[in-house]
């Protein structure tokens, strides 16, 4: 349509932007440490393999969506696996989205409280950001799409800042070039659930995209490729700047690397603070998108007219889990749980659903 009256739809390229912007969040900051503990200086290789792996999961979701065009997961699940199993799978899907929001909230508020505040309780930061997320999620899809397209501009700015780490780059830190610990690299791939979150939103977002000349697999693929290249280059420059050993010993290696950047003769100092600020809009997109997907998914599943009634329902739960997860042990449990449920959903449930969908379709065609 010529103007903006078509508020409920997006183009395939917009879908690509939405998914790309959902992938990069502040979750990657603490995750980098334990990925490097496993994959050492081959963080870039681990990220590349993870990109391939998670894109394949996204591709499976797109294939599943093609079996049920114009339907969200909540609508076709009962037909596909029955009401009871459908409810369980839908609950897992909602849990994956909730965990993304919770992890993002914890990551960004911890980041702020460590680097920009000294006394403000983290709960205050959480509730403020959560309310801002809810405000956006309460809007219609057209508005959310515009918000994403504007806030995504923070992504190149963030990467621009991050690229300043090249100043401290030393090739020696990358040696040896040939990996000898393949199992560690593969283990690091699993931890990349923190690097590639949010693509599961496709299960709800695909019906909102208008099918055109360009396939969804291609636009989403370009998004994954872009983010993966960013991670590969980012991984190389990070290890090159502060070495794998240092990365595995600090909590926020990216911020740590940024701290060591000095641009002599310029006014600008303490670039890590600016970078931390830019992480907020980037992470906000992912949180808001997951929250919208929860609301829209529930709306379709329960056959409601509006997604808004479901938005406030999850606020207490998210806030409670975020506030409760305030010790390293609890964080560890949450991290392991989110990794497990993310991988389980993407690489067990989605393929099974796809096989079921293919079989059912085959049966119908045979009939």
């Amino acid at each position: 349509m010529a103007n903006l009256e078509a508020k409920g739809k997006m183009s395939p390229w917009q879908l690509g932007i939405v998914i790309t912007s959902a992938l990069l969040t502040a979750r990657l900051l603490p995750a980098t440490t334990y990925i490097v503990i496993s994959s050492e200086q081959f963080l870039w290789l681990s990220s590349a393999l993870a990109g391939l792996l998670f894109y394949s999961a996204a591709y499976l979701i797109i294939l599943l969506g093609q079996q049920f065009p114009n339907e969200t997961i909540g609508e076709y699940l009962p037909r596909l696996v029955g009401k009871k199993f459908g409810a369980v799978v839908f609950l897992i899907f909602i849990t994956v989205q909730l965990i993304n929001i919770i992890n993002c909230l914890i990551a960004i508020t911890t980041l702020y409280s460590i680097f920009l505040f000294d006394q403000t309780p983290r709960a205050v930061l959480i509730i403020v950001l959560l309310l801002a997320v809810i405000y956006c999620t309460m809007q219609e899809w057209g508005t959310i799409l515009r918000v994403i397209q504007i806030l995504v501009l923070a992504l190149p700015m963030l990467y621009g800042f991050y690229s300043l780490i090249w100043i401290n780059f030393e090739t020696l830190n990358l040696l040896p070039l040939w990996p000898d610990n393949f199992s560690g690299i593969l283990q690091g791939v699993a931890y990349h659930t923190e690097y590639y979150p949010g693509y599961e939103s496709l299960l709800v977002l695909l019906p909102l995209a208008a099918r055109g000349k360009v396939s969804f697999a291609r636009t989403v693929g370009w998004g994954f490729l872009l983010v993966t290249i960013m991670y590969i280059i980012g991984g190389i420059v990070l290890i090159g700047a502060i070495s794998a050993k240092t990365v595995s010993n600090v909590s926020y290696p990216v911020v740590f690397a940024m701290k060591s950047v000095e641009i002599p003769g310029t006014f600008i100092e303490r670039l890590e603070d600016h970078m931390v600020t830019l992480f907020l809009p980037v992470t906000y997109i992912s949180m808001m998108l997951s929250y919208y997907v929860i609301g829209e998914g529930c709306r379709k599943y329960l056959n409601y007219n509006d997604h808004r009634p479901f938005i406030p329902l999850f606020l207490p739960l998210i806030f409670f889990v975020c506030a409760f997860t305030n010790t390293p042990d609890r964080l560890e449990v949450l991290r392991n749980f989110s990794m497990f449920i993310g991988l389980f959903f993407s690489f067990v449930i989605i393929p099974l659903l796809l096989i079921l969908a293919w079989r059912k379709k085959g049966n119908i065609e045979q009939c």
């Binding site: 702020y112 397209q149 100092e269």
Partner: protein, 549 residues
């Protein structure tokens, strides 16, 4: 109560015992004559009543015109009672009496004299009778525009507009003559939207002049001008302008129906209409472009927009609009495209500064002094040590002073405002700092903030930015840079959620589906690249004529 005498029959000799027969006959004749006269009076009264009740007054009409000019005069006088500025001029048009009713000061009496009075008195002999109303309006009256008005309400409204009313004995219709003339401001230079190289003429308070200014710029028969009267009492003329073969389908219809549905007693300013056209009335951002420049209106009409011009307002409205429209000026199109693009980009930065700079100052000083280079950080700490207030209060104090001075300068006469500006600058710049109420850096911050708001091409948009400065300051004082970032995001969401006539308020700004509109948004491409009208406005004909080559 007095009892009426009852008639009794007596012998004549008994009633008039002393009268002769001849005297009795004479008295009887006189009595018969009186009876005849009373019958004639009764008949005349009945005729008047018949005339009055011949056709019942229609709904909402105060009365109905009769054939009798004296009655008509009385009716008009009663409708316009205690209006001492109304003049009643009686004259003879041939055999018949005629009456002109007009508003002194709003009527061209010379024109009236030559086109009506001289025509009617000079062309007819004193014994000549007038023909029907068509003969009078078509042959006798020489005024350019003459209208027969059978309805009294319309006739009264015409008198109050300055158009004299002609009443003629024996004719039950009134004639309205276009002879309105009033004092008006000449077309002058735009006071608030001056352009360095663009045209300088601007709208005045007269609707016909304002429409003429638009018409003069285009000879397009598809430019339609519809005039309505809005305001139950003021009956203010409101013009709706659009280009029929360009405007988005149903947009003009929607705005027309909105205008016609306005039920208010008075329309004094164009803002009275504006508030009925927008949905989100509490939204501080302007959703209608108000301009005093006719060239802006014409440009907007040819992009597929609709314009509304209200009589007695020196501005016209353009709608629907987007944020980019408020950030563009005529000089963008008279200057070189590269320079114009840079200036546009600067305006966006200025808009950000206008809202967030004081907030950033407060957050850095209160929460994140470490974000600054060490030297600057120590310098600010030293400056801050001289003032007793916390940074938020200090910022509010300066912000309050800035607002007061802005208001004072806007309200004062031009000569005094310059003086007030100097006093303000001295007070803010030196006295406040010397008194230790605020530090010099904050003065710079606030001054830069004020200048940034003034640099907006749209004054209402600058006001909206001023409005959002306060919540931004509060967010910064509570949560520092985190608060500012969250507030910035919320503001983006708010702006994205705004709609004007189903269009996004942000227009094509960073919307990849409208990428072809980006040529004249944040940047300004050279004219030869702008071959299409903006997609965002949904124009019927998107091709700009003459630019396809």
């Amino acid at each position: 109560m007095n009892k009426l005498p009852r008639f009794k029959f007596f012998k004549l000799s008994a009633v008039q015992p002393n009268s002769s027969l001849s005297e009795t006959r004479q008295k009887l004749a006189e009595f018969q004559k009186q009876v005849q006269q009373s019958k004639a009076i009764e008949s005349a009264i009945n005729n008047v009543v018949k005339d009055l009740h011949k056709v019942p007054a229609q709904d909402e009409q105060p009365f109905i015109f009769t054939n009798n000019i004296e009655i008509n005069e009385q009716l008009v006088r009663s409708a316009l009672s205690r209006c001492d500025d109304i003049t009643y001029r009686q004259f003879r048009a041939g055999k018949a009496k005629a009456l002109l009713v007009y508003l002194s000061g709003l009527t061209d009496t010379n024109k009236l004299e030559t086109t009506v009075i001289e025509s009617l008195t000079g062309r007819l002999n004193s014994n000549e009778t007038l023909g029907n109303i068509n003969e009078i309006t078509n042959l006798l009256i020489t005024a350019a525009n003459v209208t027969v008005v059978p309805k009294p309400k319309e006739a009264i409204a015409n008198i109050l507009k300055g158009n004299p009313l002609l009443l003629i004995d024996g004719i039950s219709d009134a004639v309205s003559i276009d002879a309105a003339k009033y004092e008006k401001r000449q077309i002058s230079k735009a006071e608030n939207e001056d352009a360095a190289k663009g045209p300088h003429d601007s709208f005045n308070e007269t609707l016909s002049d304002n429409i003429a200014l638009v018409r003069r710029r285009t000879k397009d028969p598809d430019l339609k001008v519809e005039i309505f009267e809005i305001g139950v009492r003021t009956q203010t003329s409101v013009a709706l302008l659009y280009v029929e073969d360009i405007v988005k389908p149903a947009l003009a219809d929607k705005i027309r129906s909105q205008l016609l549905s306005i039920r208010i007693d008075k329309v004094i300013l164009s803002a009275n209409i504006e508030e009925f056209l927008i949905d989100q009335i509490w939204n501080p951002f302007p959703q209608v472009l108000v301009t005093e420049r006719p060239d802006k209106i014409v440009a907007g009409l040819y992009e597929g927009r609709v314009s509304i011009i209200v009589d007695n307002s020196p501005t016209a409205m353009l709608l629907p609009i987007t944020l980019q429209d408020l950030m563009q000026s005529v000089d963008d199109y008279t200057g070189r495209p590269a320079v114009a693009s840079l200036i546009r980009f600067t305006r966006y930065i200025a808009a950000f500064i206008a809202v967030f700079l004081p907030a950033i100052y407060v957050s850095i000083v209160s929460y994140h002094p470490g974000i600054l280079p060490s030297g600057l950080s120590f310098y600010i700490a030293e400056l801050r040590a001289r003032t007793p207030f916390p940074s938020l209060l200090e910022a509010f104090l300066m912000e309050g002073l800035l607002e007061i001075f802005q208001e004072a300068i806007v309200r004062l006469p031009q000569k005094l405002s310059a003086a007030a500006g100097v006093v303000g600058a001295l007070v803010i710049g030196t006295t406040v700092v010397e008194a230790g109420l605020a530090n010099a850096l904050l003065v710079v911050v606030i001054a830069l903030t004020g200048l940034s708001a003034f640099s907006m091409p749209s004054y209402p948009f600058g006001m909206a930015l001023r409005f959002f400065r306060i919540p931004a300051l509060l967010a910064a004082s509570i949560l520092g840079l985190y608060g500012i970032s969250v507030f910035f995001i919320v503001m983006i969401v708010f702006l994205c959620s705004l709609r004007t006539y189903d269009e996004s308020y942000l227009g094509d700004l960073f919307d990849i589906t409208l990428i072809e509109d980006w040529k004249d948004g944040l940047l300004r491409f050279p004219a030869k690249f702008l071959t299409l009208r903006p997609k965002r406005l949904g124009a019927k004909d998107r091709t700009k004529i003459g630019s396809e080559n």
